[in-house]
Symmetry: C2
């Protein structure tokens, strides 16, 4: 791409400001040279965001930069990993330095918050797309996996659910957007501190990227257990409560993706430890159900009786309406 070297120089300058001791060689060679601390496992995840699919074309550059890193850090959080490094592959339609600076502002605002060093990447020409690959550490054997849920565990979720889907709905309808919902859609907060605080307490974890039902099902299937959710317990933000009727709220909360909250299980007996960990991490957590022996996922209404799951699923931003698809058809990363 014409001007690509200027773009790379801009990226390098920003990356150099966030050096880490465990980066022996960062951007500028054929590859980076890195040191994983002794006694730790390396945790790796990667996600691609495509314009018009994962975010509307008119999303602010800052928000795209933030969100691209956030969705990746959210995967590390779900593994209880300490973030360390990332690579950034930017495919841009043209060499637009103003756009790039905005993107980097958002990207590094979040990277700096979590001490993440940018250690490599690639810039190419094409329709706007961004791939980030993140690396983190966990003391050997302490990663939080999807397959650790046990019968008798409580099911917890952080923060509130459905906000991003509600924000997306408002954006689609062209109506005035609630500022809180907009931030939840455009600048999700990866629950890194919570993931770390849950080491040794939680049995299983996943981040809510495709929708609570779809993501919790991944945990149940990986752990070969069943689950029950109490619909009345789903944590609801004031913005969601004020702006949408109960049926719509529930669809967003069960099927809306892009919240990037953590859903995790922990023994009932550790409820106080879970709350203390959440307090240390500065985020609310809510017990929303339990792990049971009978396979499958059941929903219980306000009176405790079983209720049918609404038709759900989530395609992020894709031109299709949210909440109308089979969860099996949704966007789902492979790692």
């Amino acid at each position: 791409m014409s001007g690509e070297f200027d773009l790379i120089a801009r990226i390098r300058a920003r990356a150099a400001a966030a050096a880490r001791n465990d980066v022996r060689l960062g951007i500028g060679d054929d590859a980076a040279i890195l040191c994983v601390p002794v006694g730790h496992d390396l945790i790796v995840s990667t996600d691609t965001l495509n314009a018009g699919v994962h975010f509307p074309h008119d999303t602010a550059a800052f928000d795209i930069g933030w969100k691209t890193l956030a969705v990746n850090l959210s995967d590390l959080a779900a593994m209880a990993a300490q973030p360390a490094w990332c690579t950034l592959n930017l495919t841009l339609p043209d060499a637009d330095a103003v756009w790039l600076d905005g993107f980097l502002d958002g990207f590094f605002a979040l990277a700096t918050r979590h001490g993440v060093a940018l250690i490599g990447g690639d810039t190419t020409r094409g329709p706007l797309a961004i791939t980030v690959t993140v690396h983190g550490f966990v003391p050997h054997g302490e990663a939080l996996r999807r397959d650790g849920a046990r019968v008798g565990d409580a099911v917890w979720v952080s923060g509130t659910l459905g906000d991003a889907a509600a924000g997306l709905r408002q954006w689609r309808e062209g109506s005035a957007m609630d500022a809180t919902l907009r931030v939840r859609l455009d600048r999700p907060t990866p629950r890194v501190e919570l993931g770390l605080a849950l080491r040794g307490i939680a049995h299983a974890g996943i981040d809510v990227s495709d929708g609570l039902l779809a993501d919790l099902k991944h945990v149940l299937e990986a752990s070969a257990v069943g689950g029950e959710l109490d619909l009345a317990s789903l944590p609801t933000s004031p913005s969601l409560l004020e702006g949408f009727d109960e049926s719509t709220r529930q669809r967003f909360q069960l099927g809306g993706g892009d919240d990037y909250e953590l859903c995790f299980t922990a023994p009932l007996s550790r409820a106080d430890d879970v709350r203390a960990a959440a307090a240390r991490a500065g985020v609310a957590v809510t017990c929303i159900g339990r792990i049971v022996d009978e396979c499958g996922l059941r929903l219980r209404g306000r009176d405790g009786s079983l209720v049918a799951a609404p038709a759900l699923g989530y395609r992020h931003f894709s031109g299709a309406d949210e909440g109308e698809h089979d969860p099996g058809e949704g966007e789902k990363d492979a790692s």
Copy 2:
């Protein structure tokens, strides 16, 4: 994407067949859990290939799969790293299982050859683009870097130069393509074994992805030294020799990218060790110049006199003619 889960299932099935002991958890969770061997540095590199930019739209799926991994493994080779793991981010315009199977055939043909495990990734919808991130190991401190060249070193290159650019020229002209040149363009051979064999012998290394002059200049600048190239020494394939006049050959050899040969420097006194290493790796190497004190890169003709560098540069496949651009404007990865 509709059918994305089928695609992921196809990818997972292929990945499962190539397990490694150091992969504690591969595809299927929020992130992979990996073990870096004690006493080793982790080497990470990433490259994106976009349809219509890095390969013609009609490139066979097998070749795209092969090449996407090959260009990444070439970066590991240039660092003298032993490949271990990779992630694969596939952006596809539609869920085409036949195309995907062809792509995976090419990808895993090369992955299997080098014992590389696919440990994660992402499939998204959009214009065809592929990002691969590769991970490898080097005993602590033994990575081959760009900044290690010293005055008195000989400059070496593996294989032959200019073949991929010649193949691209034939493709562009719509003329009958020499089969050897076509393979060199579509299925480059990463010089992994050579990189490993050069540990402890070579001082600096880089892979020839943007063109010999551009890439060697990166080494000279990183090492704060100068270099001289003997034009008569540039290794030339029979196909290149037969198909193109001397001036065109030279442009391809100096400015043509995509050869993915290794260019490296080693002390003159280690020439026999270099040749022995190359023999062990099963690839020819040619001494093409030397590292000198005076900064900059000079070319010497057949009689030893200085000659001017032709206008060069390379944009891979980009619609623009090869060999016409300032090298500073070429495609160049940032890590």
